[in-house]
Symmetry: C2
Amino acid sequence: MSAAREIIPIHALKAVCSSCSLQELCLPLGLAQEEMIQLDDAINQRMPVRRGEALFRLGDAFRSLYAVRTGFFKTVVVSEDGREQVTGFHMAGELMGLDAFGTDQHGCTAIALEDCEVCELPYHRLENLALEIPALNRHLYKLMSREIIRDQGAMLLLGNMRAEERLAVFLLNLSQRMAARGFSSRQFVLRMTREEIGSYLGMKLETVSRTFSRFQQDGWIKVQGKQIEVLDLAAIKQLVSGCIGLQH
Amino acid sequence: MSAAREIIPIHALKAVCSSCSLQELCLPLGLAQEEMIQLDDAINQRMPVRRGEALFRLGDAFRSLYAVRTGFFKTVVVSEDGREQVTGFHMAGELMGLDAFGTDQHGCTAIALEDCEVCELPYHRLENLALEIPALNRHLYKLMSREIIRDQGAMLLLGNMRAEERLAVFLLNLSQRMAARGFSSRQFVLRMTREEIGSYLGMKLETVSRTFSRFQQDGWIKVQGKQIEVLDLAAIKQLVSGCIGLQH
DNA sequence: ATTGGTGCTTGATGAAGGTCAATACGATTA
DNA sequence: TAATCGTATTGACCTTCATCAAGCACCAAT
């Protein structure tokens, strides 16, 4: 199919890192202009992933990192007996696959919760580039390091906090991440089910639902299915004050 | 005190990475002999840390990674309201401080649970060396990546498993790590208190104690204070079968 | 030997959240 | 429009673990 080479796929025409609006949230953070152009070459832009599809699966050979460009992912770990644990939710500008360096296999499965686009960062090219660009290498360290801190925050959450505290931290965290991307921090749509929230927070879907209802009765939020409106941010912050959260 | 320079401190005479028995568990894994000698130069060997002392504290400026040479550490995160969460236990050959790259500050506090020795790996020297030695750089990625996986395992543990499963995973994990270091996997001493175990596993010290007692009644282990003897490994493994554990 | 401190064990009780079940909602398809 | 499937809500009940409390074991210091 050599004829296909003459048809330039539409996504090849799209913006690259050096002109991407997510620069400040994503991998290129802190790079000089010329370094960013080098990075452009190492990246496959705008792979589409449709809702419900897996971008990679636990055990897959590790070939690339992926940055979310648009859309929303969950990552899950499945234990032998089928129990599923959601280990994170990922939105624009966030990197997935950092847990795969260790074993050369992906350590979790990434599923698109809506139609998404990702940038693919082939591992070998990235590694070579990182050795040439110290700032990039350092930033990769930083990103992995932050992932560790984030997970430790989640451990504290799961180990020490009650259901309502967990859900409050979750809402606050989501709200802040929306704000960082220029969306409303007061009104947003949950892309995940109650069960997925529950799995992430270590509680059952019924408890998630009940806790949402209680927050609503208290006038803190308005819930309509997946539509969330934050009414009393201060009250929610009050509840989680003194807790180490799920920073992102 | 220039005269002091003529007194060679005793620890300077001790073994370096290239002749360290922990090579295979520690940072030098996978390096060529000559690369290891370069690493020797970048490392301050055998810093002593006494029981109860902090090697570094949450918020301290990040200057070095530390490898445990002998002894046993805990790392803890303290929330604003004083709640303390143990995030890990660390023994010979394990690296601490990987969570500090992200913010240039340590993200947890490391406390020696017995008299210890550590190797200090100054950050800048290590970073420069990593840029020269691709294998070292890759290994640092791997170590951080494994830390992420480990933390995700802990999340699954805390989110999904019951008290006895958690403690079984904990014992199994400890037993395996002892074995990997040439110690008995059947008999060992817990260096941490019941409260610290409980904090790590997300349960109260009373529950830890009760669960140990139950394991003992079932003939799975023998507990005498901090002395543990594993009597029925198969039964313990059976309990955690199908769980994703705390790999180390 | 006595005292105090810290950590461990064990019992009694209660609260938080899990489980089971019935019902309702909402989006997609027939 | 109806039918269906996945998702969400809510209630009733039960299990697990936290809490409170008492007593014990061990070590260190006086």
